[in-house]
């Protein structure tokens, strides 16, 4: 690589870091600023706003609700998606192709269209009242997050001679379930970890479903931010900062997992 190329690399990494850090830093500064109007940097820092938010029961409730929904969605998605992806890849190629299309579909279909549809079906007209409860979010996020498991697991599986492994397992008298659990699952575990974190990040960031289907009945962090918008920008900044911190910790965890792959 030439000197020129190295410089370009540095510039790109620098820009990328700036792109990721600047918005977060601005919001965090605003959360802890004493007075910040008409100047480029704030005049001083204070815990005042953070203290006020942490003492607000609405915040604690929203944080709790968000964690319940995000963990719930993550666990349900993982529990139903991982077995399905493995079953499709190892035993049912036609199902696998079908799954491939179904998990990609939400990329092309806007969330608000799906949310409208859920609103029509689960508001009790057909005897099922899910709207207004966390369940519509936990179950509704499954199709949105399925690709986070499907794609990395499929990527991992491409490098694994599945057919041979299953046959070898049969030769030594192992059942299919045991082969899946002991041999295939460990081979895709890193894909699973990445999927879990991406799924969590999606669920804690989601606003459209939360706003249209549940709203104030089970307010999440995103809903609370939207409510606060009418009030002080400082308080909103604290909530957004908390959200950023949670997501950043998660991202760093993924980077650590990915890095360990080479060791």
């Amino acid at each position: 690589m030439t000197k020129h190329g190295k410089d370009a690399q540095r510039v790109v990494v620098g820009l990328f870091v700036a792109l990721q850090v600047l918005p977060v830093l601005s919001v965090a500064l605003n959360a802890f600023a004493t007075d910040w109007a008409g100047s480029i940097l704030p005049e001083g820092l204070t815990w005042h706003w953070a203290g006020q938010i942490f003492a607000d029961p609405r915040f604690t409730l929203a944080l709790r609700n968000s964690l319940v929904i995000s963990f719930g969605a993550m666990l349900v998605s993982a529990a139903v998606t991982i077995p399905a992806v493995l079953a499709g890849h190892c035993y049912l190629p036609s199902l696998d192709r079908c799954l491939g299309a179904l998990v990609i579909l939400p990329y092309a279909v806007p969330g608000i269209a799906l949310a409208l549809g859920l609103m029509r079906i689960y508001s009790g007209q057909y005897g099922v009242q899910l709207n207004g409860t966390p369940w519509v979010l936990i179950l509704g996020y499954v199709p949105l997050g399925a690709s986070f498991y499907y794609l990395p697991i499929k990527n991992n599986l491409r490098a694994v001679p599945v057919r041979e492994l299953i046959e070898a397992g049969h030769l030594v008298g192992a059942g299919d379930l045991a082969i899946m659990r002991r041999v295939i699952l460990p081979a895709v575990i890193r894909g699973v970890v990445v999927g879990l974190v991406m799924n969590f990040a999606l669920a804690i960031s989601e606003f459209v479903y939360a706003n249209l289907l549940v709203g104030g009945l089970y307010p999440t962090l995103q809903i609370f931010m939207n409510v606060l918008r009418q009030g002080s920008g400082r308080l909103t900044s604290v909530v957004v900062t908390v959200y950023f911190v949670v997501v950043w910790i998660l991202s760093t965890a993924v980077v650590a997992v990915m890095a360990r792959r080479e060791d």
């Binding site: 990328f16 792109l19 601005s26 799954l99 199709p143 990040a201 999606l202 606003f207």
Partner: protein, 308 residues
């Protein structure tokens, strides 16, 4: 796969894909064990299939069905006629398409060079950048809009900084152009993720050969690089376009009802206090999906034709 399944094997049950007909007399027991394994595999996939049917397919069918009915439950195309006949709704589609195409274009223009430089970095650094880009592309909606308001709002730090540096013409993030910039923030990160894998097609050999015949960098990219990448560039553009067309939360948080975007109109018709009209909301949503599905189908057809 098929070649493999014809390899000599013991009479043990084979896992899926094997063509029973090509082997001599699989035992009855072998067959039933194999189909039992398949059935079992299907049962493991069933919960996901059920959830996809109930929470992905059924909602889409519901809005399509609703869009074709009037208040009395009679089949009609009146909803479509009303939307297509309304200048206001048509202009919502035009604005959405412009914002989406603009931000997708910006995403590719910035993301492609970045992804290209990323190719020459150590693998670990690549993975770090890609992972953060992946998570960063989730920074949508309220947090993103709010961060931009603090940076570029009327008294935002960057607005003041730019004014102090004497750079005239500050960015009005509450305008349509502002939406393009905020969307582009996400689009660049998505473009890096989408384009990076496809850049593997440009091997050092190809580049060396181009240098040997005396092609400049610019000429190389124009004549060789971009044509090689064109299928994935088009595919990525369509995905970014669809992503922006469907964006609701970011626009809602940034401009509220002030911009005439399709998604904001849908939200207003679905949950607005004044303008609520479920049938029209469903019709608008169905039209939006059609606008997004058509380019995907065309792209797939073109891909098939180019690879006979």
């Amino acid at each position: 796969m098929d070649g493999e399944s014809r390899a000599p094997s013991l009479t043990l049950p084979r896992s899926g894909g094997g063509q029973a007909g090509t082997r001599l007399g699989p035992t009855m027991q072998g067959l039933s064990v194999r189909s039992r394994v398949k059935l079992c595999a299907f049962l493991f996939a069933l919960p996901l299939l059920a959830i996809l049917a109930l929470f992905e397919i059924a909602p889409l069918l519901a809005i399509a069905w609703n869009s074709l009915h009037d208040d009395d439950g009679l089949i009609t195309l009146a909803n479509y006629a009303e939307i297509l006949g309304s200048r206001f709704q048509r202009s919502a589609f035009v604005t959405s398409v412009l914002v989406s195409a603009g931000s997708a274009g910006l995403g590719i223009l910035i993301g492609l060079p970045v992804a290209n430089i990323l190719r020459f970095m150590p693998v670990r650094l690549q993975q770090t950048v890609l992972t953060y880009a992946n998570i960063g592309s989730n920074f949508t909606g309220f947090p993103l809009a709010f961060a931009f308001i603090i940076m570029f709002g009327l008294s935002g730090s960057f607005t003041l900084l730019l004014a102090k540096l004497g750079i005239a013409g500050h960015l009005d993030i509450y305008s349509t152009a502002g939406l393009v910039v905020v969307y582009a923030y996400l689009q660049v990160q998505l473009a890096i993720l989408l384009l990076f894998p496809s850049l593997g097609a440009i091997t050092p050999e190809i580049e060396e050969m181009a240098t040997m015949v005396g092609a400049s960098r610019l000429k190389f990219w124009w004549r060789i690089g971009l044509p090689i990448l064109s299928p994935s560039l088009i595919g990525s553009f369509i995905l970014l376009f669809a992503n922006a067309m469907g964006t609701y939360a970011t626009a809602y948080a940034l401009v509220g009802g002030n911009a005439n975007l399709v998604t904001l109109r849908i939200g207003e018709l679905a949950a607005g206090d004044v303008y609520s009209d479920p049938q029209l909301a469903d019709t608008l949503a169905t039209l939006l999906i059609l606008v997004l599905i058509v380019p995907v189908i065309v792209e797939q057809a073109l891909l098939k034709r180019s690879r006979p």
